[in-house]
Point group: C2
């Protein structure tokens, strides 16, 4: 209902927090798909939700805030003057367009000070990867339905890693257990290339250093992506489990340029009917390039479409 | 993929026109769901699509135009200076906010002058009702899946009548053939009440009088609904088949006030996760009222949610 894969983990997180007696969740959001999904999940289980949205997206995508408010949540631009972390960031750079790392610091701070509140993260962490593995399980079921023994190549976009991990881990598991040879390609934006350009080391998950240290591919926790980048996929780090899989050689990675992604998105929309989210178009662009240059006849290529682009239509309009 | 029931008939119409050698479809659109659906369908079958959108919606809902353009279609505000009908309307009232009847006149005129073009209508007519009957067939299948013998009361919103007819005709057919007692309630806006306030007589489908005469409930083909009305459901007439069914007593009708619809829409969104289209909230509001005042325990109430409200979030924001 919110147009992306995020409810897979949002509903689970809201439900288990509600069962535990928690009455409020805080979180950050970039493009807004995660914030909207957690807002919906909290409405469904009857708890409140407070979201810090990266200012660049907050200003450019008002419909996402309207969506969160329709579900009864509150949404602030980040950095905000509502937290110590936010005030410190604004003092350092009053015109900052924000980053996911900054918004995480704010949401974590508010949750840490309220015994009835928890902080909820929509990507990166192991429990999120677990919830999202339903995607890959569905891919396996769909392949079976179409009489295919395996996928040959799988393309998924990679920001924090949640849809990519969810899509690919069940297929990698099949490779390891049954000897299939599915190849997984992580498709990340050239503007925030944590897997292809980042270092594999311990780093904080947020700007202020409030989270535990996490071993991951990272561009540094003070990385601020260009505000013109249209989609999500703006996080400085990559899920530890995805990072580990790349390090073990279980999946590869490519960086995709933004203009190629919109061209691919329009081609996909006109062929399949679905206007894809700008994030998903990274996977589509890489898959189209592969099919046109390298693929052999009869290969089975899977593309993970992590969300629709209905609320990102102005970005397409700018491209057209 | 476009977020409403409209592709059910858009894909069929585009396909059969393409098979017949037609290379372009013209149409009108109000809230934009039909224009976006026909744009998508034309992209899928590889023909061009030109849409006249009622000016009030064109100005208030730019995302709908972006959506049509993403699918490769062209969208004009109506009345436009591109047609004789449009120029005549603008001369009479340069500041008109437009109406579906005016937009139909423009789209029909352009198609009539081009041997390779046809005009396509997304509601009202019998073939559209036929395509949409898949909705009611799915309701019957879903009821069976849940072990229910019949629906007791069915609420559907009514503009031109397409989703309502599609939803209810298979159930009315079951009533007539098998003696079930499903009651159907057409829910129309108080701002354009063709069933509850209109006359049952022959009238034109458009403002300029270019269409054949149609026997239907009508507010008069020069009716212009208030531009502040947020959703679709702005047509002056009602599908001849729905009109006939109401006239035979096979279904009833109620008019719903706009403020009640938004309150009902938010309640539905927070309970079900889906932000409904403003059109659909007419059915939801009437159903909630029925369940709270009249329904007996154990009654099976069906609500037709004809579309989602993702591109109508500003209207919700104005209400909040």
């Amino acid at each position: 209902p919110t147009g992306s894969h995020k409810p897979n983990t949002a509903v689970a997180q809201a439900y288990y927090n509600a069962v535990e007696g928690i009455t409020k969740l805080t979180t950050e959001t970039g493009a807004g798909q995660w914030g909207a999904s957690l807002a919906m999940a909290c409405a469904l289980v009857g708890i409140t939700c407070e979201v810090w949205q990266v200012r660049a997206s907050y200003d450019a995508k008002p419909y996402r805030r309207y969506q969160m408010e329709a579900y009864g949540s509150v949404c602030h631009p980040s950095p905000s003057d509502l937290t110590e972390a936010g005030r410190a960031m604004l003092e350092k750079d009053p015109d900052t367009t924000g980053s996911l790392g900054m918004a995480i610091s704010e949401a974590v701070e508010v949750a840490a000070k309220d015994p009835n509140a928890h902080y909820s993260l929509g990507s990166v962490l192991n429990h999120v990867m677990l919830h999202q593995s339903v995607i890959g399980q569905e891919v396996l079921a769909q392949l079976k339905e179409f009489g295919e023994e395996q996928a040959d190549v799988v393309f998924g976009c990679a920001g924090g890693g949640s849809n990519l991990g969810g899509l690919s881990f069940p297929l990698i598991g099949q490779n390891l257990r049954e000897g299939t040879t599915t190849r997984v390609v992580a498709c990340e934006p050239a503007a925030a290339p944590s897997l292809t350009r980042g270092e594999y080391r311990y780093d904080f998950g947020d700007v202020a250093g409030l989270t535990p240290l996490i071993k991951m591919h990272t561009l540094g926790h003070d990385f601020v992506p260009s505000p013109i980048h249209a989609g999500g996929l703006r996080y400085h780090g990559m899920s530890p489990m995805v990072s580990h899989a790349v390090n073990l050689g279980l999946m590869g990675a490519v960086a995709v340029e933004q203009d190629d992604t919109f061209a691919a998105g329009l081609e996909f929309a006109r062929a399949e009917g679905i206007v894809p989210a700008p994030e998903s178009t990274h996977a589509i662009a890489a898959a189209l390039d592969y099919v046109r240059t390298e693929a052999k006849d009869g290969e089975v290529v899977v593309i993970g479409v992590s969300g629709n682009g209905v609320l990102d239509l102005p970005a397409y309009e700018n491209y057209l």
